[in-house]
Amino acid sequence: MSDVSASLSPPAAPKKRVKPRGALFDPIFSVLCAAAATLLLSALAGVMASLLIGGWPAFAKFGISFFTSTTWNPVTEVYGGAGPIVGTLITAFLALVLSLPIALGVAVFLTEFCPSVLRRPIGVAVELLAGIPSIVYGMWGLFVFAPVFANLIEIPLISWAPPGSIWEKIFTGVPNGSGILTASIILAIMILPFMAATLRELFLTVPPKVRESAYGSGCTPLEVVWSVTLPYVRRSAIGAVMLGLGRALGETMAVTFVIGNSHTFPQGIFDGGSTIASTIANEFAEATGEMHTAALLALGFVLFLITFVVLAIARALLGSAKNG
């Protein structure tokens, strides 16, 4: 013991302090990191500003009716974005409702029940699904999924719905497989692998000790998931879900192919609708009128705001969950 303390004691002769080897690059490194962050922020601000400036003529001319009117008439140059705005919210919300339980199921299966031989292949498959380009989902949705969906789901449901009931209203629409619900299902499939993969990673961060002690005290797997795993990752899980919602809000090509593209309010879940992103994708290339371009840019700005509000609400929820 005494030997060790002796060897650790400072040498008697004073020595010049040596700088660590990497010290020279530290300021450069921190400047580079700050530059990266600034670049990101200024890109965000730049996009927002140019959307607002580009869309300003539409906001100025139509005012509040840009948000309340469903008239979208390129001939008379009168634009109201209520149809696409509502369509965006409905499809993203439905997609989330459809995909969240499945994503949770996949993640729980992979972490709790899956035989370890299967774990890797399924995990890789989930990640591969996330890598499929949007346009491929769109083509598949239009040419493969829509006809099957029409024959197996839409036509039976429409003919089953009792006349005059609420079901008849919900199932209104042309039974050709396109419409709000089809778009939501395609969206759900698209955000599913992303959310499942993130949730699985989150579940894996729960220390085995915690879960094992829950099992040890006699919990069933359901109880472990519900009262140990989920509360443990709750904050990050909400973040993962919100990122999925963000992707659903902005998804473009796949939705454009299957949503039916009408600018009015959808009458039922089988009816055609439109989203902000699909409207821009459809019309931007051929928008020659100045007001038409402005209206599309204004819609883009609204989408920006919606995404921002969703993220802000997510943050607020997280904050209250933390305090409560």
Binding site: V75, A146, A150, G177, S178, F257, S262, S274, A285, E286
Partner: protein, 345 residues
């Protein structure tokens, strides 16, 4: 290793030299396949390439106005005033047709006959079932079911929609007043499919539907096309000859700025919804060599490109129209010294 690198550099250098002389254009998607075909053959002969970006007619007009390309391309001709304001000159290249298609059980290609006015009533949503008296009156002997009609239109702005809706405006006052003609309009009813493919898919999937596509798609997809009524009252089928007839009946000589829609042309054999696609370029060329290059390319295409156009189901312009356009090039497109940049021989 070094050898490969040198070789690669040499290839890049040659490619770079070739690119410097290449022509650039952007715009309409409808003629993109034939421009690509022409460019390939032209490059083989002259070593001058064409970089054409099919970004849509609206994009083409924006790009030529921003002077980022040597020429723009649009399915929708610009009005004379707009040409004058922006200093542009336009000329047609090839002709195509828009064809209504239906999906009615028991009704094959060419069995249904419609007039422009009734077609507009269907797209207005005023005629709701296939056995409506207005439709059956035009189709004696055809058994039409009482199915509800589902209208399918293009969701994206397009020259196809421009021709279709402008034709409906010409034939039906209610359509002209409520909807009008444009590359995208506020559709009174129906569903929108993205592109010709999207419309074709929706029509195929929906029993009782009617849509409209470019002619080439009914051949690819074996769809049930509709016979339309000509100005003279006959019903004719959409064929390349019918488009050519419409193009030759067009009064190109008296169309200032070549603003000419080939809709509802006279002649018993003229398909009513025919349209040309156009090239836009500046009438004052800052760099005469560039203007000359563009005109040389299209002159070559007029001369040798008809076969390729027909193979892709486009209709070439009639010879007299081509001769007029060649004269118009010499008279209108000038370099900084006031001399024509290119005179066709």
């Amino acid at each position: 290793m070094l050898k490969t690198l040198t070789a690669a550099l040499a290839v890049t250098a040659i490619a770079g030299a070739a690119i410097a002389a290449d022509l650039s254009g952007a715009g309409a998607t409808f003629p993109a396949p034939i421009y690509a075909k022409w460019a390939e053959a032209y490059k083989a002969q002259t070593h001058v390439g064409l970089n054409y970006q099919a970004i849509g007619s609206g994009g083409g007009i924006k790009q030529i106005k921003a002077k980022t390309v040597d020429f723009g391309a649009s399915d929708k001709p610009l009005k004379v005033q707009e040409l004058k304001d922006s200093g542009l000159f336009q000329f047609p290249t090839v002709v195509g047709g828009v064809v209504p298609v239906v999906n009615i059980p028991g009704v094959g290609p060419g069995q249904l006959k419609l007039s422009g006015a009734v077609l507009a009533d269907i797209f207005l949503g005023e005629i709701k079932r296939w056995n409506d008296p207005k439709i059956t009156a035009l189709n004696p002997g055809v058994r039409l079911p009482g199915l509800p009609i589902t209208v399918v239109h293009r969701s994206d702005g397009s020259g196809t929609s421009f021709l279709f809706t402008t034709y409906l405006s010409m034939k039906n006052a209610a359509w002209a007043q409520k909807v009008g003609g444009n590359d995208s309009v506020e559709w009174p009813t129906g569903q929108g499919g993205k592109g010709n493919d999207g419309v074709a898919a929706f029509v195929r999937n929906t029993i009782g539907s009617i849509g409209y596509v470019e002619y080439v798609y009914i051949q690819q997809n074996k769809m049930s096309f509709v016979d339309l009524q000509t100005r003279g009252g006959q019903f004719i089928a959409p064929t390349e000859n019918a488009f050519a007839a419409a193009a030759s009946h067009g009064d190109w000589a008296h169309a200032p700025g070549y603003y000419l829609l080939l809709l509802d042309q006279p002649g018993a054999d003229s398909w009513p919804i025919t349209g040309a696609t156009f090239i836009l370029m500046y009438d004052h060329q800052q760099n005469p060599a560039v203007g000359e290059g563009v005109l040389k390319f299209f002159d070559w295409a007029y001369r040798y490109g008809d076969g390729q156009a027909k193979a892709l189901s486009y209709v070439p312009l009639p010879e007299p129209v081509k001769a007029q356009i060649r004269k118009a090039w010499a008279a209108n497109i000038k370099g900084p010294n006031g001399q024509p940049v290119y005179v066709s021989r």
